[in-house]
Each structure stands twice: as structure tokens, then as C-alpha cells.
Symmetry: C2
Subunit: 225 residues, 2 copies
């Protein structure tokens, strides 16, 4: 059984890949080079894919900067040191328009080529992420659309399932699941704004949520050793 696994190199997607592996899938990991300022995550993705025994790992180069408009790709400053109230109010400026739609569309293309039925995505609807394309209703709508979009689905050779096993978990629960699944946490990279050497800033929303997750799970973060 083959599965395409979206892999950013962060804690969530690495845990998701490990989950797919433990569920018995032969995993085809897919990352994107989209001009993100945190490009160190692509190197992290490569190492994680190897460590978790992905069958293949590809990096699709796509141009999300053509439309501008996000702190993850633009020269807008990444917000730092926000409190929980600020993080949970509204949709953050780090939102990239239609990003998960685009990522899932590429995963759908690869799934069709592989004749895979399953696509894993490490989205998470809790913990103030505030991204519309991380919610269950979005995932279900994409799955429905995906089964009308491809030759293999229309011909009955595939039946796409979008699997988002972390969608209802808190960050602390994800940390615990990652430990249980032997995710190489020291390789994962979550920071939106690392320094030139790839060190996490410790202050962006993603760093703060990660730190909170480890704290609540009662664990030290091996990536901060």
C-alpha cells in the first residue's frame, strides 16, 4: 500500500510520516521548495524521510512568490513573542494563500502516477494555528474534489483518502505521539525564521507552540540540545 506523505521537515509532518509508516504504508514523501525563508526545513525533510524509511522523497519547486503576500515568503517580518491570545485571534500573517490546496494538488498528481489511494498531511486544527486550510471541513472537501479530478479515480483504480491523523491533537499530544513513534525529533525543524546557520529563533508562533507542546508533554525538546 502506497501513500504520498507531505513532509515539511517540521514536527507535525514528521510525526505524520511516522504514523503512515506504522500503519503499514510504503511512503512517498513530498516537499516543496516554494521560496520559503526557512529553507533549512528542506534539508531537515531529506534527513527525516531517510530516517523514517520513506521509499522515495521528492522536492517540487513551485513559485508561490508570484502572487506575493505572506511573511513566510515575502520580506514582511515574522511576528515574534506573541502571547496566546494574540496567536489565537484571527488568521496570522504567516498564512500563505491556498498553500495546503496547492500542496495537496501536487500530492494528488503524484498519487495518481503511483496509483496510491492515500495522502497524508500533518495539519492540525487546534493550538491557534488559525489556518482555514487546516480544518476538517477543508480536508473533506478536498478529498471529495480529488476523487472527481483524476483519471485513476474516475476509472475506479484509485479512491483517494486524505489522512490527517493529527488534526484533532494538541501540540503536547503530537509530541507524545512522536516519541511513541520514534520520530527523530532532533532532526525536525519548526521555526518560521531561523538564523543563517539554521538555528530556530525561539520567538515566532511556530517556535512558541512547539515549546509549549514539549513543556506540556513534560519533555525537553531534543532539537534545542
Amino acid at each position: 500500500m502506497k501513500a504520498v506523505c507531505l513532509l515539511s521537515g517540521g514536527l507535525d509532518s514528521a510525526t505524520c510520516l511516522a504514523h503512515a509508516r506504522r500503519s503499514g504504508f510504503e511512503c512517498y514523501a513530498l516537499s516543496f521548495d516554494y521560496g520559503q525563508r526557512h529553507r533549512v526545513e528542506l534539508e531537515a525533510a531529506r534527513r527525516i524521510a531517510a530516517a523514517l524509511g520513506a521509499r522515495d522523497h521528492r522536492v517540487a519547486k513551485i513559485d508561490l512568490r508570484v502572487f506575493g503576500h505572506s511573511a513566510l515568503t515575502d520580506e514582511i517580518a515574522v511576528p515574534k513573542d506573541r502571547d496566546e491570545a494574540a496567536m489565537s485571534s484571527g488568521i496570522p500573517i504567516t498564512y500563505v494563500p491556498a498553500r495546503n490546496t496547492i500542496f495537496l494538488s501536487f500530492a494528488l498528481a503524484w498519487a495518481e502516477v503511483l496509483e496510491a489511494n492515500d495522502i497524508y498531511i500533518g495539519v492540525n486544527a487546534l493550538d491557534y494555528s488559525g489556518y482555514p486550510d487546516c480544518r476538517p471541513e477543508f480536508i473533506h472537501a478536498f478529498e471529495h474534489m480529488g476523487n472527481l479530478a483524476t483519471k485513476s479515480a474516475v476509472e475506479g483504480r484509485t479512491r483517494i483518502h486524505i489522512r490527517a491523523p493529527l488534526i484533532e491533537l494538541s501540540k503536547a499530544e503530537i509530541v507524545r505521539l512522536a516519541v511513541e513513534l520514534n520520530v527523530p525529533l532532533e532532526l525536525t525543524h519548526s521555526c518560521y525564521d531561523p538564523d543563517a546557520s539554521g538555528r530556530a529563533c525561539g520567538a515566532c508562533d511556530s517556535c512558541l507552540l512547539r515549546a509549549k507542546g514539549f513543556r506540556e508533554a513534560g519533555m525537553a525538546d531534543p532539537a534545542c540540545a
Copy 2:
């Protein structure tokens, strides 16, 4: 009123752009450089966007070859001189996995940045195209998903409509509509496999359907002058 208009440089998408313009939209044309063998269409798209008064035209560079598997991007030969029965049986090898899903996803991203409600796509379900992602049920499912995918839709600032005005038209009807809308037909380019100078092959499915459309509309094709 702004609309994002997918524009390949072919007859259908040019007609679609002209339709959007006549409907009063300020049009933002979007093309893709995806390693297609018929790259001359990008130059055609540029000229058509200018001729039809698009407000902006962008070309997003994306890598569809990362997964291989289509005569439009690979070194697989484009089928030639097929009869209507062959063209109408099954899904052709020129099918690019999930292509319209990927294109519409990018259009959705740009629509969000522009706060546009409307996306035009020149798909056509008739005339043997055989592509699953050209059918009305696919378009409706994408529209539903798109309204759950973006910050602007979730916040109620946009309401996405995927407009496919050619979807139920025959090729002859599209030719007649193009003439009525003053589409610069001589600039449009439909061939899957042009020669080095950009001349249409006259034998691929796309050329044959175009020729049939002009013949049935009782017109000479200005692009063949």
C-alpha cells in the same frame, strides 16, 4: 470586479478571457510554465492577454515533471492522426495528472491576494477531450473546496465562483463565440506538438479538434493563414 483567468494561449482559454472581459471583469490572466513541450503557447498567452486588455498577466513556474508521466511534459510521443472513435475512447496519454486541480489552486491563491471572487477556466467537457478535470462535477467540487480553503472566504470577504462558460459548448460553438467576442484567433495556439518554429503539427488531437471546430463553424482558421 476582478477575475483571475487561466490562460494557456489556446483557443478555449482566449475565448474564456474575452468572455470574462465582456462580462465586465477586470482580468488577471494566469499562465503556467510547467515544462510543457508546447512552450510557444506562453508567448501566445502573453500576446492574447495584451490584445484582450487583461489588467495583469503572470506566468507561474511550476514543476510538473517531478512526477513524470504525460506526453505533454515527457518524452512520450504525442499521438497523431487519430480518428474520432480513438479520440473519444478513454482518457488520452496527453493527460497531465491533476493539472486543472493544480492550475485552479494557483488561481485560488491569486484570487485571495486580489480579493477576487471569480476564476475563469476554459474547460470543455465535450468533443472527446476525455479529461476528468474538465467535467462540471469536478468544477463544482473545486468551487466548494475553494470556499473552505482561504482566509478571505472564511472571513466572508470573498465568495469564490469557478466560471467555466465553455464547458457545454462544442468546438464549433466555441469558434463562433470567439468570433463574436473578437478574439484574436490568429494569435491563439492549440497544438500539443509544434515544430521548432512554433508551427502547429496539424495532426495531434488538439489540432484535429480545432480544425473540426473551424470546419463545422464554416470558417477558415486564421492561425493557419
